[in-house]
Symmetry: C2
Subunit: 623 residues, 2 copies
């Protein structure tokens, strides 16, 4: 590590790096023993690698390790967190005196790393995700910022079984990310068992080579070999590089090295003393520093001027998915940090409208949703406003990555198109019917669900401006424009689309079901029944007080209707919020897609699965 | 295809197979034009391959194509469904006269295949999942049933970008599944774009070879090459085989062959006539057969005698995750179809208790959750009672596969351990806090959440006996046994754990929060406030009438408390059900984990994140 201008790595002497590796081991053992839990053996196998990476290869500003020009390190095997913290401390990014706060509720040094720690860009700990984040960081540096920052990702051999790793490997090779180096700690021991290939690191080499990577196998405890391999990686042009390092779990401490049954176990105080003695001894650690060294600022969404407003005619038939694409293009004109990633469905999600206008800011992710989300997290960590789109149902493929994006405090935006049974003939495999439940259960997420093209444009802009995970749910069918172009859509918020002093129930809907609710309103009117109709374009968060006032005004009677399964969707969100508000609800009916749908025509399916206008009419009358 | 005894494939003449391929093309074109949608060009690229597989390689009983000894075919590229239906029709498994019902609401021939169609074992259409299902079918035949049935999986080149494919490839090679053949239709055209490697089929060959497969590249429109490659695959011992077939999307029809912009588009009537003429013409199709040919019976869970009952002492400290493992072992003794798959965490989920007792029925899935679920679906399709376990949070990795398992009408069981903040120091990446939302939104799923070891054993048994997706949520900490060993746990159902005629509120909880509720009950009692405490061990389905009666008896006041995010969990399930029951709720308070948790001690976290006994006491008093 050197706070140096760009150029060849300014390496410390090999002896100094060996001493750093020794200290990293001791720090890792001490911190886990102090915490009473953690994964010391997983730290010891990788200590030489991490010392080589941090104190030979990487160039970063120790006070600003997340700066645009700093090289980055991603610890994909997040359970080796104590090793990362030790390296950051020895590199001067955090005080050594913090290390013994590991896993304490007061500490930013959690059991697995999060971006609360300086130098960490994304949370890890769900295995197999770090290489995608690294690819996102690397593509941001190479293709968008066009600087020479490099990215190093340390993976465990156990996590190489995760498909996400190979999605990332293919993506990185496709984009020729020669600023990306993967280092695999092949210690041959998983949590419960030997790994699939044990110490046969050549298998991993062949897999990486088949993906188009430069790859080599080394002895992961030979510092000469490590530094030479890192030098070769840095010198490689046109392709990413993999270093497959044969290591020993628990290396350096005889009584835990390569032993079964030591995964995720801290040493006792006595064993710690023995271990430190074996490692050559160490000074007493400094007094624990209780003041947190959390990084001063997490990335915030870029600010940008107002984009070109929507330009639709009332009643014009436009799919919200198409308006999403139009919005992205308009946002791209005023927000140069905006980038989009799609999974070979950009002609369905309409990301292609942006991609055609700004090809240099559009990344084809092919059919690999997990990697797309990881890449977006990497891009967002560099301050880019990242939008990921796929069919709503296929975003389920990346639920773990989205969950981890939230732990990363990432600002990524996701668009799920083709929600619900209204897609029609393609059938249930293509219908997003659990996406509201999925995104609502992401802490801090914003869930937006436009019902017309104006709302879709405005809400896409809202997502771009908003921190945290934002989800925009779009629909396949064309629906009429119902809002004037100048309408605004605050978040949280909703629109009262039909209202009279005589309303006897409130119907709450969004997307295609809002249009069914409007038909139902008309039909009920002819029968002399007046109902309020609310467009709940923001499904999370919900302003329960404001919504409750409307429901109260209609004698506490509410019907919700959604093109989604009943669980965790719009209906439960509304009922849950209103029930807790207290004294609001008198009678409630939730209409949603019950049972597994089939292929059929969209209108047939809305009717057969219980969310069409006639069902709304019946539900209102039943109340 | 031949309804033959086992032995060498009884091939039809090559000319007959070519004629079959021609008919498959015509059927596919006709059906999609009739439907007005679908993916005809994706059928045409693979028609020769499918003809070779069905009419040369495969041996199955045409009236019982899903029988144990029949070879199986999995269409991983599910959008080529019309081609599969055409092959099944030409093979005699369904009437040709059904083909023109494609995508009609009345028809089992949906836009993407489901097991309602004879010969289909699992729903496909979310790409990249079929090879895992195929691996599950193959491992069931080879390792459990020990018969000679073979499995053929047809994949598209676009879906090879999905990591799930490579998880499956590694798994199949690891288990030496030489009864598994993957055929990749390398037509070089994705939905929106050329695929990553276009026609460079050698890249796929190298990737498969790196995984330990036998692999070769062929011309996918040469019937000689196809049959020879299939013969070589069948003759291969000890490893699975991949045939990488270079093809042309839309092959056989000049005006759509290898053309951009034709993905997922049906031909017009005029174009259809031109296409059929180019293909050599065909007789008029038979009159449409409206009577469904859906397969007579989907697999049902095996029946088995009562297992050894739980054997705990009241107050004994046992983690529900450990009781799950104990239950699996007891069930394994009475249900020989029971198999378990784990993802290198069996010493944490306690699947290892079963694995040690029945090693031949335990499959190490390594760290690859997507593949585990697909393998389980394949095993369940053969009638095995499959249990998959991982940390609850890591099951999010397989949400798309679980979603598709529901479309498959599969009977798989999943156990998610380490739910909630009660895991403590490992931090948020390891905490399952969205799993209830995720599984509740699976249609027909059963969601079970035991609070003690007796319940955990009984509910694991209930899962094994129950159709559909069953989820068992287990906890990391040891908790006291509160039920007698003979207690039964009907599904749906709940237990009233504390009850008096003077109860002023109902507290509904499960898992660790039930024990907090019991503490709160005790504390409130000392303050002269009596509350009812309910263990909602079955979170889905809920018997709202029975539950409502208790809430009504406590003046409609209810507090829910769960170690889960507020959205889509126990609280929303209860409130949603009660609100709709009508007139039950007067005041409600939901306690759940709000905000992103941190590392810390379990008890600290329960308290800091608002779900400990003091919070329950406060919530009750607030109501």
């Amino acid at each position: 590590m050197a706070a140096s201008p760009k150029g060849a790595p300014m390496s410390a002497s090999i002896e100094l790096i060996r001493e750093k590796a020794r200290l990293l081991r001791i720090h890792s053992l001490r911190a886990t023993t102090q915490a009473g839990s953690g994964h010391p053996t997983s730290c010891l196998s990788a200590a030489d690698l991490v010392a080589g990476i941090f104190f030979h290869a990487m160039r970063f500003e120790k006070m600003r390790p997340n700066s645009a020009t700093s090289d980055r390190f991603v610890l994909s095997k997040g359970h080796a967190a104590p090793l990362l913290y030790a390296a950051l401390a020895e590199a001067g990014a955090i005080p050594v005196a913090r290390l013994l706060t590991l896993r304490d509720l007061s500490s930013e040094l959690e059991g697995h790393p999060t971006p609360l720690v300086p130098g960490v860009d994304a949370a890890t700990g769900s295995l197999g995700q770090g290489l995608s984040v690294g690819a996102g960081l690397a593509i941001g540096a190479a293709k968008l910022e066009k600087n020479s920052a490099r990215v190093y990702v340390l993976l465990g051999d156990g996590e190489m079984a995760e498909g996400n790793v190979w999605e990332a490997a293919a993506f990185a090779a496709h984009y020729g990310l020669d600023n990306l180096t993967a280092i695999v700690d092949v210690n041959a021991l998983g949590q419960s068992d030997r790994t699939m290939y044990r110490h046969d690191a050549d298998v991993y080499r062949r897999k990486f080579e088949a993906q188009g990577w430069q790859a080599e196998v080394i002895d992961g405890h030979s510092m000469e070999a490590i530094l030479a391999a890192l030098n070769r990686a840095i010198a490689t042009k046109g392709k990413p590089q993999a270093i497959l390092a044969r290591t020993e779990k628990g290396h350096g401490v005889s009584f835990i090295a390569d032993k079964d049954g030591w995964h995720g176990k801290a040493l006792s105080r006595d064993d710690l003393a023995r271990a430190i003695a074996e490692l050559g001894g160490a000074e007493e650690p400094p007094a624990i520093e209780r003041r947190s060294s959390a990084r001063p600022a997490l990335p915030q969404p870029a600010e940008f001027p107002a984009p070109e407003p929507p330009a639709y005619k009332p009643g014009q038939q436009v799919a919200t998915r198409e308006a999403y694409g139009t919005a992205l293009k308009k946002l791209g004109a005023v927000n140069p940090t905006l980038v989009a990633v799609d999974g070979d469905v950009q002609n369905s999600t309409f990301s292609e409208i942006f991609g055609k206008a700004y090809p240099e800011r559009f990344f084809q992710g092919y059919i690999a949703e997990q990697n797309m989300v990881g890449v977006a997290v990497g891009l967002a960590a560099r301050g880019h406003t990242a939008f990921v789109a796929s069919f709503a149902c296929f975003l389920t493929r990346a639920y773990d990555q989205i969950r981890m994006a939230a732990v990363s405090r990432s600002n990524i935006n996701l668009c799920g198109s083709h929600c619900g049974v209204s897609i029609g003939e393609d059938g249930p495999s293509q219908m997003g019917l659990e996406d509201l439940a999925m995104f609502r259960a992401i802490p801090g997420a914003t869930v937006l669900y436009p019902s017309d093209a104006v709302a879709a444009e405005r809400l896409t802009e809202a997502a771009a401006r908003r921190a945290g995970i934002c989800y925009v749910r779009t629909s396949r069918p064309k629906t009429p424009v119902i809002y004037p172009n100048e309408e605004t859509f605050p978040v949280p918020g909703f629109k009262v689309v039909r209202e009279s002093p005589h309303d006897r129930a409130t119907v709450i809907a969004a997307g295609v079901t809002l249009h069914e609710a409007l038909k139902a309103h008309q039909e009920l009117k002819t029968q002399g029944i007046s109902v309020r109709v609310i467009d709940l374009y923001c499904v999370k968060p919900i302003d329960a007080t404001a919504l409750g006032a409307h429901v109260r005004a209609t004698a506490g009677r509410v019907v919700t209707v959604e093109d989604h399964y009943p669980e965790g969707g719009l209906g439960e969100a509304v009922i849950g919020a209103l029930a807790e508000a207290g004294g609001v609800l008198s009678a409630a009916k939730r209409l949603a897609v019950t049972g597994l749908p089939r292929s059929g025509k969209p209108d047939e399916l809305l009717d057969v699965f219980g969310i069409s206008a006639p069902h709304i009419v019946a539900a209102v009358k039943q109340l």
